[in-house]
Amino acid sequence: MFEFDPILLARIQFAFTISFHIIFPAFTIGLASFLAVLEWRWLATGNNHFREVYKFWIKIFAVAFGMGVVSGVVMSYQLGTNWSLFSDRVANVLGPLFGFEVLTAFFLEASFLGIMLFGWDRVSKKMHFTATCIVAVGTLISAFWILSANSWMQTPQGFSIEPDGRLMPTNWLKIIFNPSFPYRFAHMITAAYLTTAFVVGGVGSFYLWNKRHLQHARIMLGMATIMAALVAPMQLMIGHMHGENTMEYQPVKVAAMEGNWEHTTNAPLYLFGWPNQQKETTEFGITIPNGASFVLTGKADGRIPNLKSFAPEDRPPVVWVFWSFRIMVGIGMLMILVGELSAVQYFRKKLFDSRWLQGVWMLMMPSGFIALLAGWFVTEIGRQPWTAYGVIRTVHSVSPAILGPQVAWSLFAFVVMYTFVFGAGSYYILKLIGKGISVSEDTEQFYKHGLEASIIEASKSKGGNHV
């Protein structure tokens, strides 16, 4: 008989539901800020194109937000249904963080979203703008708390352990501002902005390519270009600092990222390779000699962690971490390239006419989501075999009463449901994009600005301040 391993199934279920979930908050974090900038530009300039772009993206925002809410409710129960031992042990430390997330962010976002979506004729322009800003800030507050909780699981501190194994808080500031939190927070927010920028830029390029909504498309591609050109390189720096922090607190994760089994110094940088957990070696390697040591320490003979100095039962599944890391970094590099090329084209005054570049932007549309998920795979799989790193092992976290078949069918149900929902969601979002932007009948504004004026307007005020 085929036996279900409840631990593995519970892990897959959590990984599946949270991966599905994180796509939407990441997108809404970026979109909310983008919408706030658009509305601000509209109020400041009176250019109706901004308002029309806003009204277009808010429909997509509503779909993404709704999917984020419903998949998020699942997360707040999943911890108890499948991971009750973990919940029981860490609740005293992590509970307040989740509590504050709901109290300071979720209600704020969910309540004012109603005004953002439906309040145009019911509140003043100023109040509407305020609602947009509140939602944007709410998404950031929410990210603050959940990343603090996640970072605590990576770098736990500020607690003591009771005789029965439960963790008790001793210092809240140490818990909330744990060592990896600032880096992870910055890395994630930047990732969310970049993800959104590449979707917005891709849609703008799609319209330029098809010669539709030219002014609106310029606003989209222009704003996305500023974001990509400035923030993508910044993300490389933040990611690098995050890596150094990980090397200090979770060295085995960095060793897995580099696929480094033996070297203590002069470790090579693997461009390609296949880590083999049984043979304890990375096969088929294409390497840059001394590369890993140099990147991580700045010196060719710098000391970096290796996998063999950790007991086999303390090592994460190396190949997942190794490859997810390469996918994330690879996409990050592509983003920088696209951002800088677009900036160059902009200064050559060719940004809105180069069709090859528009093609690249369209291809890059899903890139942010893939990089984001790959990044989370690196940090979450890299934390294994622990749930709270160095404190609680994954095998000691799962609910004792749940059985394999129970987890298996619920996992199956989630996969079916999410595939259906995701398929329908993508379909409607693509349909919205295909349908295009509805231009307001308020012609007075339109004549005042005229075609040329709005092009200048759009290229002048691409609202780089959306960071």
Partner: protein, 340 residues
């Protein structure tokens, strides 16, 4: 590390707070789940658009109370969270799947055209119905108690499926349908309202019936509950609860047949829910894992509860304030146009 537990009964306060949060969830998501339960029975598509529009600005916020319920239980009563969640594994997962279905139906329905719209109408209906029924079953099996060994649930995966929990499941479905229909009486007009009035009076009868059945079986579940309700002098203090509840039933019935009354049926239905919930709460107090652990045994440690209390004190009034503001912004009757 500050800790108020030396001079404040933190578990008691948090028990009341969580109970209030769950009650608010029941009321708020109750009416929008109720609208979903009644959805396919509406006389026309235009009515359905109106029904949808009347709850569209609020459902995200309403569902957030459920997240607070889950998150709050995790934070304030971790033992209850880690025992009850595995115990109700299947109904919780089904409830979540139902909520996902109805949640996305909100967004997709507005974007769909023609036949595919029907799919979302039914997704909305069955999602709401399933979620409501599962919530009722969870409530029923919670009241019956779960099997516990040490700090873990030790029963089987289908322990929650009992005759009593099926009854409470149906009771909650009717209860939400009452909230939903009286909400529609308040938020719509013309034929939608006429229909809602008819449905509400029909549903009201079943709510009464099931409330009676559940109340009558409660004392047989546990001796303490029996003693609590029927011993002197308690019985005299508690008598107003059933009396007030029954008078509220008459009030709703009367108002539903009086065209001038548009608001009162909804608020009187809230009253019915309040007394039902109060009766339940008083019966179970102070258990949080019925008949095994009380709120003091299951509570989180003092520092965590203290920190959250400091947060809740200003934040909860603020949340209630802006939630109220949002309801105020969208006051009045809802239309059938696509709103954004």
């Amino acid at each position: 590390m500050f800790d108020f537990s030396t001079f404040i009964d933190l578990p008691l306060i948090w028990g009341l707070l969580i109970a209030s949060a769950i009650f608010l969830y029941v009321l708020l998501d109750g009416f929008d789940l109720g609208v979903g339960i009644l959805f396919p029975f509406a006389p026309s598509d235009k009515c359905r658009d109106r029904m949808m529009n009347s709850i569209a600005p609020f459902w995200d916020g309403n569902e957030t109370w459920l997240v607070l319920g889950g998150g709050g239980l995790f934070a304030a009563f971790p033992l209850a969270y880690s025992i009850l969640m595995p115990a109700f594994y299947i109904p919780i997962i089904v409830m979540l799947l139902g909520l996902i279905m109805r949640g996305v139906a909100f967004e997709f329905r507005f974007k769909a055209e023609g036949k595919s719209r029907n799919i979302w109408d039914y997704a909305f209906h069955f999602g709401s119905l399933g979620a409501a029924f599962c919530q009722g079953m969870i409530l029923g099996s919670f009241v019956q108690g779960v099997e516990v060994t040490g700090r873990n649930f030790s029963g089987g995966p289908f322990d929650w499926a009992t005759g009593f929990s099926v009854m409470t499941g149906i009771a909650v479905v009717f209860g939400y349908a009452l909230l939903g229909s009286t909400w529609l009486v308040m938020k719509t007009e013309d034929i939608t309202q006429d229909w809602a009035r008819k449905v509400a009076s029909y549903v009201l009868f079943f709510v009464g019936l099931f409330m009676l059945l559940v109340s009558m079986s409660m004392p047989f579940l546990n001796e303490c509950i029996q003693k609590f309700w029927f011993s002197s002098p308690n019985i005299y203090y508690l008598l107003p609860i059933p009396l007030l509840t029954s008078s509220l039933f008459f009030m709703v019935w009367y108002d539903l047949h009086c065209p001038k009354r548009e608001y009162r049926p909804f608020f009187a239905s809230i009253g019915i829910f309040f007394f039902g919930y109060l009766g339940l709460g008083l019966s179970l107090f102070p258990w949080i894992i019925p008949y095994k652990y009380n709120i003091w045994q299951a509570a989180a440690s003092g520092p965590g509860l203290s920190l959250m209390l400091v947060g809740v004190a200003p934040l909860l009034p603020l949340i209630l304030g802006y939630t109220g503001y949002c309801y105020y912004v969208f006051r009045g009757k809802s239309g059938h146009d696509h709103m954004y």
